[in-house]
């Protein structure tokens, strides 16, 4: 039931127009971080206030919303954001990736390829990929304007010299449409190849007040070296519940004697595979 005390999708119309103008400019310049006047939301920074504001400006009453946190529909963050929009926008919600029209995500891209009629909204903590290399906003802004991205390659090179490989495993920097270097939010680098998809991707950073976007079928290249090519890595196991060998896995410690299991991080993917009769190593024990 919609809470009638609020405007549709919580935000007032002038705020939504401001966010909508930022989204349009973000789509027109893929990967460029558009500043916007982020609002105080009824949840703390770090809980997806940027994603929530982008979703609020994007949702229509006809939408079906799915919210995931690290791939899971049933974690605190995902449940509370889903309830927030059930109350303030009255939209339908779902756990199933293929039934959703808008998917808000924290740190994962669903395993199932998204369709043209879907929109993926990312919650972003630090939108600036150069921030840990150069703390001054005035300088990083200049670096983007001059396409001065050498520092990022130095950072990846230092990974190689210290660890023998590119050790960055999440929030792996990408170059969008041959121009802007972008932080894809802290998704595992396993998900980076999926950034070239059929759906519209919107990124919202509430505390840092930035919105950016990647239109469908936009070239997204993970930075690497000729002799150290990018590799989309995952744990070298199959899911212990559904047996999937192609999905990103969480490692779960199961007792005090060091036993562990690997399960799909995408809970809907895992559940739909088990419903189809697939089983993994521990399927009988764990369910």
């Amino acid at each position: 039931m919609t809470d009638q005390a609020y405007n549709f999708a919580y935000l007032d119309e002038q705020t939504k127009r401001m966010i909508r103008r930022a989204i349009l400019k973000g789509l027109a310049v893929p990967g460029y971080q558009v500043p916007f006047a982020s609002r105080e939301m009824p949840m703390p920074y770090g809980w997806g206030t940027g994603g929530v504001q982008v979703s609020a400006a994007t949702l229509t009453p006809d939408d079906t919303l799915k919210v995931i946190d690290q791939g899971a529909d049933d974690t605190t963050n995902a449940v509370s954001i889903r309830k927030f929009f059930e109350r303030t926008a009255g939209v339908a919600t779902t756990d199933e990736t293929d039934k959703a029209s808008v998917i808000q995500t924290r740190h994962r891209i669903p395993e199932m390829p998204l369709r043209e009629d879907q929109i993926l909204v990312y919650q972003v903590p630090i939108p600036e990929p150069l921030r840990f290399l150069e703390p001054r906003e005035t300088e990083t802004r200049k670096m983007h304007s001059l396409e001065e991205y050498g520092l990022m390659h130095v950072k990846l090179y230092e990974d190689v010299s210290q660890h023998g490989q590119i050790a960055t495993s999440y929030a792996y920097p990408v170059r969008v449409s041959g121009r802007y270097v972008m932080d894809p939010s802290p998704i595992p680098k396993f998900d980076n190849p999926k950034l070239e998809m059929d759906a519209i991707q919107l990124f919202g950073a509430g505390r840092e007040q930035r919105i950016y976007a990647v239109p469908p079928w936009t070239q997204v290249v993970s930075l690497d070296f000729e002799d150290y090519p990018f590799e989309a890595s995952k744990a070298d196991h199959a899911c212990d519940l559904c047996g999937a060998g192609d999905s990103y896995l969480d490692e779960v410690i199961t007792d005090d004697s060091g036993n562990r299991m690997f399960v799909c991080s995408d809970t809907d993917y895992c559940r739909s595979r088990r419903d189809d009769g697939h089983t993994g190593r521990l399927a009988g024990d764990a369910t």
Binding site: N7, F8, A9, E13, Q14, K16, R17, M18, R20, R21, A22, I23, L24, K25, G26, L27, A28, V29, P30, Y32, V34, P35, A57, T58, L59, T60, P61, D62, R141, K142, H144, S145, L146, S177, R179, Y180, I200, A213, V214, P215, P216, W217, T218, Q219
Partner: protein, 189 residues
């Protein structure tokens, strides 16, 4: 003020604006795709699509430039009553609306700065018709190629050369909208 200016706004602003924005966003994310957009009933000669875009995007923080035959009292009053947007010359506009011959030359409009390419104008170009033939489009949001009837492919291709600076276009006709962001590469069909 004429009482006609009071009519023709959104009947349910949050809902109408959400559907209108979704159409506008889909068009901007998929250059060349033609989307239906409606909700506003603006005074002539403004089209339904252009009027709906103005209600969706303009407000006291987003200044509007009306060009040529659109810059008439009924349209000015309608826009002011429903959006509160300042009416400004093209050089100061966040959003400019008009037919191509009235908007041209587009180098009057803001193209952003190297550090803030988003501080650029969005043009709403009123067209007689929108059809998926003509100039060939390539770039972000387009699977391989798309085709769209453009009012002036050469000038729009010139705008794309300024990337990441430049203006972005909505093309409107009746209750339909398509878009051409600065990221789209244009070649003659």
């Amino acid at each position: 003020m004429q009482s006609e200016a009071l009519h023709g706004g959104f009947s349910d602003a949050p809902v109408d604006a959400s559907f209108a924005f979704r159409a506008a966003m889909t068009a901007m994310a998929r250059p060349g795709m033609i989307c239906d957009i409606s909700g506003a009933e603006p005074p002539s000669p403004l089209s339904v699509a252009a009027g709906t875009l103005i209600l969706t995007l303009c407000d006291p923080d987003a200044a509007l430039a009306l060009s040529g035959p659109l810059d008439v009292q009924p349209v000015r009053e309608w826009v002011t009553f429903h959006t509160g947007a300042p009416l400004v010359p093209p050089a100061e506009a966040d959003i400019a609306v008009g037919r191509w011959q009235d908007l041209h030359p587009i180098d009057r409009l803001r193209i952003g700065t190297p550090e803030y390419p988003d501080r650029s104008a969005t043009l709403i170009v009123e067209m007689d018709a929108l059809i998926e033939t003509g100039a060939v489009l390539r770039g972000p949001g387009i699977r391989e190629t798309a085709r769209l009837s453009l009012p002036d492919a050469a000038a729009m291709a010139g705008n794309a050369l300024l990337y990441p600076l430049g203006v972005d276009f909505f093309l409107t006709s009746g209750a339909r909208v398509a878009a051409l962001p600065r990221s789209t590469q244009i070649s003659e069909g």
